[in-house]
């Protein structure tokens, strides 16, 4: 059995050679680690890599290639995001070739100036139960044994969210990296008068994060794109997880697991008990 990486390259090459897709979105090696790459030539398929550093969800790039047939490499959470996007009519299933790779968790990024304490599995991966994309055209099994997951941490210890929000720069990396933030104009900026000012007033960070959380509720697939791109390491996934829990308790809805199950806010029926 070949390694997932070779299988991935072979698959991407054959897809491109057969012209089944115009483009494969995957990960390539970069100096600082791993970064997204866009492969349109069969020869370039050798650049593709697969390792636990492939953390940024590639799904957000799909909206840039709406007219093209795209092959995309997805982890379990990314696949859930695709499911959810299809439900929201943001994605054409037929023009997307989903290469699902079994994911055993990704590493937390080692960012500038952090003390290097060895690689740690990301917090959101500890809780993850969907390791293979629920929607796929091809499955690549992983031979790597699952990354060591410390026993899922007790969520009981509450975070001081207000002081975490205070660190925020509102650089919008969380918004821009999110698979679900596909609005051409973010509602944070789009209101007239705007919900928050153009320049960052610290007190408005509360509104910003709460509004974003409300927009993510019941949609967030906890892929951790926001959290891993955040320069000040706000554990946003934990916040959105809390709201997803609400949806699960009230409606039994888990985003991105079942293509048939419509999101509860879209099918709110008369007389239904909230």
């Amino acid at each position: 059995m070949s390694s997932p990486e070779t299988e991935l390259r072979r698959l991407a090459r054959s897809l491109l050679e057969k012209k089944a897709v115009d483009l494969v979105i995957g990960y390539e090696k970069s100096e600082a680690g791993v970064r997204p790459c866009f492969i349109s030539e069969p020869n370039e398929a050798e650049r593709l890599v697969w390792n636990p550093d492939c953390r940024l969800s590639l799904v957000r790039y799909l909206r840039g290639f709406k007219e093209k047939r795209v092959g995309i490499i997805v982890k379990g959470c990314d696949g859930r995001a695709i499911v959810e996007l299809i439900k929201e009519n943001q994605l054409d299933r037929r023009s997307t070739f989903i290469i699902a790779v079994e994911c055993n968790g990704v590493y937390k990024p080692v960012k500038y100036g952090s003390s290097k304490l060895g690689r740690q599995i990301a917090e959101y991966c500890e809780k993850c139960e969907v390791r293979i994309s629920p929607i796929r055209d091809h499955l690549i099994k992983s031979d790597v044994k699952a990354l060591e997951r410390p026993s899922p941490k007790n969520d009981g210890e509450p975070l001081d969210w207000l002081s975490l929000f205070r660190k925020c720069l509102r650089c919008m990396a969380c918004v821009r990296s999110c698979p679900f933030c596909y609005c051409t104009e973010c509602s944070i900026e789009g209101f007239k008068p705007a919900l928050v000012h153009k320049l960052v007033d610290p007190v408005e960070l509360f509104t910003f994060h709460l509004t974003r959380a409300l927009h993510m509720a019941g949609r967030c697939v906890e892929c951790g794109a926001c959290e891993s791109s955040c320069p000040v390491e706000i554990p946003l996934t934990r916040l959105y997880h809390e709201l997803n829990e609400w949806f699960r308790e009230k409606y039994g809805y888990v985003p991105g697991v079942n293509l048939e199950q419509a999101p509860p806010p879209l099918v709110f029926k008369e007389g239904e008990k909230p």
Partner: protein
């Protein structure tokens, strides 16, 4: 300039004395990474840090800053405050050099940026040399480190026998004079170690990336579009690179009515944003993401040098490490440097 030395155990004493006379700002660890803040207890200071996650630019150009207030029928008030003297201790040479570049840009006559100058003139910048540069760093390219930068008043370098202190400006000499009993003239042995250290660290960094910075000028002509288009596909258009950069100085202004007066604020802006050059008429000289990315790199490496006679990058490596999409300015350097 003159070389002094201070014993390791005296550093804490020095910091304590400094914090009595000035507002002392130094990096210390919070939530897993280092950040500059007011150091109340000098014991919190630890020499063993690489660099702060975010740049110290915010002490001179805050993310949001009041430009003026205008009271109807009364006129303007402006909050040009009499700043108390601030000491920025433990800033890395690259970030200190960034301040000297900001000086070049913002204090360029005839119109000096008073808001910046007001904060800058009351600040004493004390840098601490990098003896173990990070893998992302490339300050050797722009000669802004790792041991000596260009914008600091005092340079501290950690050697085995204490700190070698170089006074770089009159301000720095004044500080040494103020705490004269703590400092001695550096002896020959120490200076030897210091010089050796400079060579070693530079060699190590040079082995990673060696670029002739003068060749970067005018890169936009040869750079072509392919490279930037490739990276533009990747770019997610957040403003992280500009916000984290120690010398991205572009600012945006915003006017509104607040309580009893019209106010104007100014704050960080980013050239990656599609709105950066878009005019009200809808005309935009930089329409595509590739254009904007090209501008970001060319502005730093070629356009600022041509206009202000200093490079717009100091090689701190923040944008390299923090970019979620892995866009790397070092590629530009390798390719055309």
């Amino acid at each position: 300039m003159k070389m002094f030395s201070i014993r390791e155990e005296n550093l804490k004493v020095f910091l304590r004395e400094l914090s009595l006379k000035h507002v002392l700002i130094a990096p210390f660890k919070r939530d897993g990474y280092f950040e500059f803040d007011v150091l109340r207890n000098p014991d919190d200071f630890n020499v063993n840090y690489t660099n702060t996650r975010l740049s110290p630019k915010r002490f001179f150009m805050p993310q949001r800053q009041l430009v003026f207030k205008h009271y109807p029928r009364k006129g303007f008030t402006e909050e040009l405050k009499e700043n108390s003297s601030v000491v920025l201790f433990g800033i890395r040479p690259c970030d200190a050099s960034a301040l000297s570049v900001l000086d070049n840009v913002l204090l360029n006559p005839p119109h000096k940026d008073a808001l910046y100058e007001n904060r800058r003139k009351n600040a004493i910048v004390v840098s601490l040399s990098c003896t173990k540069p990070m893998t992302e760093c490339f300050c050797n390219v722009f000669e802004t480190g790792p041991i000596r930068g260009t914008g600091e008043d005092l340079t501290f370098t950690h050697t085995s026998k204490g700190f070698v202190v170089e006074a770089r400006t009159q301000k720095g000499i004044a500080v040494i004079g103020e705490f004269g009993e703590l400092f001695r003239e550096a002896d020959g042995e120490m200076l030897n170690e210091y010089n050796k250290l400079i060579r070693e660290v530079l060699d190590e960094m040079g082995s990673r990336l060696k670029v002739d910075k003068t060749r970067l000028i005018g890169i936009e002509k040869e750079a072509g579009e392919e490279f930037f288009q490739l990276n533009a596909q990747r770019c997610i258009e957040c403003s992280l690179c500009s916000f984290a950069c120690p010398l991205c100085y572009c600012f945006e202004t915003e006017d509104y009515w607040e309580k009893d007066s019209y106010v104007r604020f100014r704050g960080w802006d980013t050239c990656i944003s599609p709105l950066f050059t878009k005019m009200a008429s809808g005309l935009d000289p930089r329409v595509t993401k590739a254009d904007r990315l090209c501008h970001r790199f060319c502005h730093k490496l070629s356009r600022i040098p041509l206009t202000f006679n200093a490079y717009g990058c100091v090689g701190c490596g923040r944008c390299v490490s923090l970019c979620p999409a892995g866009i790397d300015i070092r590629e530009v350097l390798r390719k055309w440097g």
